[in-house]
Symmetry: C2
C-alpha cells in the first residue's frame, strides 16, 4: 500500500510512460518530468535496474542533463544487497525526482521488492517527489503489476500473470507498449479477477501524468486506453478454464489522447482542451 502522505503535504506525481518515449526531437514527456522535478533545480536519480544494457543509465543521464536538470545520477541496484547500501539510499533521499527505466519488470520486483529502496521510493513519493517509470518501469509502479502475458484483444483465462509491484498506488493496473504489442486482452483479463482497479493501457511515446488529486493527464503522441470495470454486470472468471475466453459484461471504455483527462477517484473522463477545440 502507498506510504501515508505527511500532514499538510501532497503526494508527488506518479508518471507511468508506455515506453519508446521521444528522446531527441521535442521530448515532451521527459521535459515535463524534469519541470515537475524542479527544472534547473532538479536532482534526478535514475534506476536502470530493469535493464540489462550497460549504458541505459548513462543514456538517461545525458538526456535529463540536456533538458536542464541541475543534477542527474544513475544509481545501480543490481542485487538485493545493493538495496541496503547507505550511500545509494542517500542519493534517493536527496532526489527531487526518481525515474525507472525499461527492461524487465521482474528484475525490478525481484531485486527491489521488499527492500529499503522500495520503501524509500514510496516514502519520497508520499512526501511530494515525482516518480516516473517507462515500459517495465511503468508496469512496476502500481500495487498490482502485470508480470507477463499473451497478446490479443479478447480476454483469455490464464493469459496474464499478476505480481505485487512497487505500490505507489493500488488504483490502477498498467500495461505498456499497448497499441504496438496488442495487449488489451491481457489487461481485461487482469481486471476480470477483481474489477476494483482501473486498467490503463499506455501506447508508446505516451505518458499518464497522475497528479496529487488523482487526475490523470495524457502527454505524448499516442493514446491511453482506460478500462473501468466499476459498472461490470457479470464476469465468468471464476467459471472458466485456462485458455478459455472470459465473459465480461458492462465495462466502460475511454480512449484518451493529449488534452483529455481521467479522474481516478471519481472515475470521470473529460475531453478537457479537446472539447474547447471543438467549440
Amino acid at each position: 500500500m502507498p506510504s501515508p502522505v505527511p500532514d499538510g503535504g501532497t503526494r508527488g506525481w506518479i508518471i507511468p510512460i508506455g515506453g519508446g518515449e521521444e528522446k531527441e526531437n521535442n521530448p515532451q514527456i521527459l521535459k515535463r518530468f524534469v519541470e515537475l522535478c524542479g527544472g534547473d533545480q532538479a536532482d534526478i536519480v535514475i534506476l536502470p535496474t530493469a535493464s540489462r544494457l550497460a549504458d541505459t543509465g548513462a543514456r538517461y543521464e545525458r538526456i535529463f542533463s540536456g533538458l536542464g536538470a541541475a543534477r542527474v545520477e544513475a544509481v545501480d541496484f543490481d542485487t538485493r544487497r545493493d538495496c541496503d547500501e547507505k550511500s545509494r539510499l542517500q542519493r534517493i533521499a536527496q532526489a527531487t525526482g526518481i525515474f525507472m527505466t525499461g527492461g524487465n519488470q521482474l528484475r525490478l520486483s525481484t531485486i527491489i521488492g521488499g527492500t529499503a529502496v522500495a520503501k524509500l521510493i514510496r516514502q519520497r513519493n508520499a512526501e511530494g517527489v515525482p516518480v516516473a517509470g517507462t515500459s517495465a518501469g511503468a508496469s512496476f509502479i502500481s500495487e498490482h503489476m502485470i508480470a507477463f502475458g499473451e497478446e490479443g484483444p479478447t480476454p483469455i483465462a490464464g493469459s496474464v500473470r499478476l505480481a505485487p509491484g512497487l505500490g505507489l498506488t493500488n488504483r490502477f493496473i498498467i500495461d505498456q507498449h499497448f497499441r504496438e504489442r496488442d495487449r488489451i486482452g491481457r489487461l481485461l483479463t487482469a481486471l476480470a479477477f477483481n474489477p476494483f482497479a482501473v486498467g490503463i493501457g499506455l501506447d508508446e511515446d505516451t505518458a499518464a501524468f497522475i497528479g496529487p488529486d488523482n487526475t490523470l493527464e495524457v502527454e505524448g503522441s499516442g493514446g491511453i486506453t482506460v478500462v473501468d470495470a466499476k459498472g461490470i454486470e457479470f464476469s465468468s472468471m471464476d467459471l472458466v478454464e485456462e485458455g478459455q475466453p472470459v465473459c465480461m459484461l458492462g465495462l466502460t471504455l475511454h480512449l484518451l489522447v493529449a488534452g483529455a483527462t481521467f479522474n481516478l477517484s471519481t472515475r470521470q473522463a473529460s475531453a478537457g482542451e479537446l472539447a474547447r477545440a471543438k467549440g
Copy 2:
C-alpha cells in the same frame, strides 16, 4: 437498407462467423446453421465469390452434405454479368439457406453489390431464409462494411476504410479474425464516425447467431467483443488528422462467450446460461 419483411413473416437469421470455423471435429457453428436451414430438408446455396481458390465452394458442399443437408450447391458469381443469369438466381430463389465463404470482401461488394443477386439475398432473408457469412463473408453482411484497415488496439484516424455492404441490417459493423489479427482499434475507429451502429468483433471459430428478434447468441470456441457507442460522451474524430489517435469517451464494452447474449434492439447484454452456471 434491409428489404421489408412481408406481413405476418419474420426475418431469417443473420449469422456472421469470425473465420476459421471448425469444419471436422464438432463443427457446432456449421451444424447449427444447417439445422436453421431445415436440417435434413435443407437446401443450401454457397456463394464462393469472395474466394479466389477454385475448391472453396466444393469444400463447403462436402461439409454441408456431411452435416445432413438435403441439397447443397456452390453457385459461382465471378462477374457482374453472372449476377443477372436466371438459372443462378433461380437457385437462390429456391434455397432455404445462403452461405458466403471467406476471401476478400471487396470481391463480394464489387461483383455482387447493386446486382439482382444482392437484392434477392436481401429479399430471401426478409422472407425468413437464414444467411451466413464467414470471414470476408461476415464483413459483407451489414450495410456498413469494413473494407480494409490497420491493426492495433487504439483508434487511429485513417486506420479503417468503410464501404457499403450487402445491407441485411444496418445495426452493426462486423470485424472478423478479431483476436487473431488484433482489430479492436479499427473497429473503434469505424464507430468514431457515427456511434449509431454497434461494433461486433468476432474471434475465429466464433459466430453471432442473430435471430429475428435481434438477439445475438454466441456460438463457438472464442469470444465476441461488443462495443456500444450509444452512451459516448465525446469523439474527436472531426478534429484529428490522418494517423493521429482518436479520443472517444464513454463507450460500453462487453466480452461475450457461448451462452451469453446481446440484444441489438435494446442493447442489453445478458450472461444467459453462464449466470445460471454461476448459480
